[in-house]
Symmetry: C2
Subunit: 446 residues, 2 copies
């Protein structure tokens, strides 16, 4: 059995803790059993491990999320990166091709597709087990999870079951209804419709037959290189609604989309995280502070306050769904990112009247990891090492660097660094153009 | 005629825009006629210049405020620095001694003592003129300004006038009452009492007679060196309440103490200052953002939000007087300061498990100004110049520095820099002890 975890979304709804590089599923706010904080995707991976599902996980995602996935889930997770963003059908088609051609899975192997960010409980994974058995038993070509609606939501698609049970709590699907209006949603709930939770199970061969209607190829790399030939369409439209036989397994337990600050703060165990002072008159206020500087709340009520190097949000909890509109107006570069090698944050920027710019970062490279061999055409960099030890390469010359060392990297000079122990340094960039894209990468044999 | 401007207070009430180095009178939030922003002390100095008072201004202050006063009022202002903080009587006694011994003022010269932070209008300075004439005409030994109360405040001292006018709108003073309770304040207002606005006029000789009761000396430097011999007592108790003849000149115009966020925001012409996004549903919210990162307000109501490198405040406007209690709990070093030579802000700090620390600053030195020749025992510094040009001295060796230059200053190395043009650089401090006090200064002949 194979599990395909879909990780997408650019997630400005949880600004400033989510940005173009860190979608909501990567924010570490939830309590994990070991007393640490974990992100939504880390929680789902942990829950998969705790369940009886003995599947191997592959994450289907975009290039912008690959680094943070390796950072949070480890180097050994399988990641399939879309060459470009299209829709869920092409993403799942590409990942299925990966399973067939790269992991040599058989056509009979059951594949479970699931989102990476539901906030749910162990029963959810029991239902997935039932879905896998149903596919194995050929109950239907496609088996999906139906979530028992708790209110007439207009955000979800609905699945209308057939009156007659197929077997053991599994229904056959009469029809799908995409996001309805409230009146229709109320009617659907009376019909015992479920929310479509975005969890699907099928046999790999079933999906590959559909893939081959668009791209007939003999390798994963060929399919990937012809990715644009897949139509921009959702899995629901292209697969679920066209399937000959579809079954739905209901899940009645806790299932939440923590996609807005209002829903997310309901699940937080503390009212404050980070450097926060809150007076005794403050009420129903949640503060999440990723900055070093203190946040003080005096007499605040019904607010969510969140601060990162990207910005500071102060929102009435009931208005927090409006954030995205305003966050989309902000066209800044990300001011913090998790990368495969570690993380950085921008701590200062300056621009002068003649257009010359300066940007200061703090970077942390994990022990054993490194930054690729690269050069910049438009900027100089000064690195000052403040913790740990590493190997520096400057135009092919190696040296060991540690605390107290400062190196100047003029534009055009090739450079790389690899951490011997966890390495922290301050980087000062300066020049006329300071963008992440000003980078040429080279191979280097460590 | 001489004007003594008293500048004191550590002002945590306007945290995070005020801190131990920047008291409330130095925050630049008020509109000046040239379309720029000015601080309370800059506003008073401007208003003095616009009035008919042809006096010379001397500022009496503490060491911690001297730099910011020079920065905001210019190098040519006379500043008398208390050797230590005592109270208003010693501060005024020291400044009077300065006028006598350093500025050679005559005993007959009229001295006006005034606070540096009233928010008031031109009529206030007209009243000061009347006070000067009254002293000149020997109407009383001491003449003070009475502010017409607008409510029974318990924050101010009250001055009870004699029924009978002395002459031309001037009353003789029957008695003083220090900060009363509300009931007493209401009674005082029925008696036509005034608030004591802290503006006093007297002849220099009168004050020097009182000074000599404590310290009999022949020079300012001697009086300054014996400063501890002055009792820790206010001018009101030591001088005003003991005076033989005291007169009060009423001022009926606008006079406000912008000492809390609630009163200050009433005088701001804009609801937002700095990088702020506010949605249309936000109401009665003021945001002052001195940080680069954006602040977004969604559906906020009746809030004051202020952000600086010291921290971020979110307060209900009606609760803003509670801030000081909580701000006093914060025992951070100031994260930004105005200095005689320019200004700095701390943009990043890091501390590692073995106690090693790093602190990154951005410094701006004004053209022609410089940082004194100094060394540090506990920290290394790396300076990277990002704008302007300067002369650097490292262990007596001079060089010219500009954009793109990086210098490493190891502990124990004497260093200074002087700006040829406005000079900006990033400083990375690192070591086991990073405090402003780790400094030894040396003379250097530029």
């Amino acid at each position: 059995m194979q599990i395909l975890l879909l990780s997408g979304g650019s997630g400005k709804r949880l600004w400033p803790l989510s940005n173009n590089s860190r979608s909501k599923q990567f924010i570490k706010l939830l309590n994990s059993p070991d007393g640490q904080k974990e992100s939504m995707v880390q929680r789902v991976i942990r829950q998969l491990g705790e369940s009886d599902l003995k599947g191997h996980v592959t994450v289907a995602t975009s290039l912008s999320q690959a680094d943070v996935i390796y950072n949070q889930l480890g180097e050994y997770i399988d990641v399939v990166v879309e060459p470009e963003r299209r829709d869920t059908f092409p993403a799942i088609a590409l990942a299925a091709s990966y399973l067939k051609y790269e992991k040599s899975c058989a056509d009979e192997e059951v594949v479970v597709v699931m989102p990476c960010d539901p906030f749910t409980e162990a029963g959810y994974f029991k239902v997935i087990e039932q879905m896998v058995h149903a596919v194995d038993d050929n109950v239907a070509e496609l088996v999906l999870m139906g979530i028992t609606p708790t209110y007439p939501s207009v955000k979800y698609g609905y699945v209308v079951p057939d009156e007659s049970k197929l077997k053991g709590g599994i229904f056959s699907v009469k029809r799908f209804t995409e996001k309805p209006n409230v009146a229709t949603a109320e009617y659907l709930i009376k019909e015992n419709a479920f929310w479509n939770g975005g969890v699907f199970a099928f046999k790999l061969g079933y999906m590959m037959n559909i893939v081959e209607q668009y791209i007939r190829a003999v390798s994963f790399s060929e399919i990937r290189s012809r990715y644009v030939e897949f139509p921009k369409i959702s899995f629901d439209y292209e697969v679920a609604e066209k399937a000959q036989s579809v079954a739905v397994v209901p899940f009645t337990g806790e299932w939440k989309d923590l996609g807005t600050w209002n829903t997310l703060t309901d699940e937080l165990s503390e009212h404050t995280m980070g450097n926060v002072i809150m007076d005794e008159e403050s009420e129903n206020t949640h503060v999440i502070n990723e900055l070093e500087l203190p946040i003080m709340c005096v007499g605040t009520r019904n607010l969510v306050i969140a601060a990162s190097n990207d910005g500071i949000l102060i929102s009435d909890k009931n208005k927090s769904e409006n954030i995205k509109t305003y966050a989309d107006l902000l066209q800044y570069r990300p001011m913090f990112e998790e990368r495969r090698w570690g993380e950085y944050k921008v701590v200062n920027t300056a621009e002068f009247s003649d257009g010359y710019k300066s940007l200061t970062k703090q970077l942390k490279i994990k022990s054993g990891k490194g930054i690729s061999y690269q050069l910049h055409r438009h900027r100089n960099e000064v690195w000052t090492f403040i913790d740990g030890e590493g190997v520096l390469v400057l135009d092919d010359i190696r040296s060991v660097v540690s605390r107290g060392d400062t190196v100047t990297i003029k534009k055009g000079v090739k450079h790389a660094v690899r951490a011997i122990s966890d390495l922290t340094f301050i980087e000062i960039q300066s020049g006329d153009l300071l963008v992440e894209e000003d980078i040429e990468r080279f191979d280097y044999k460590w």
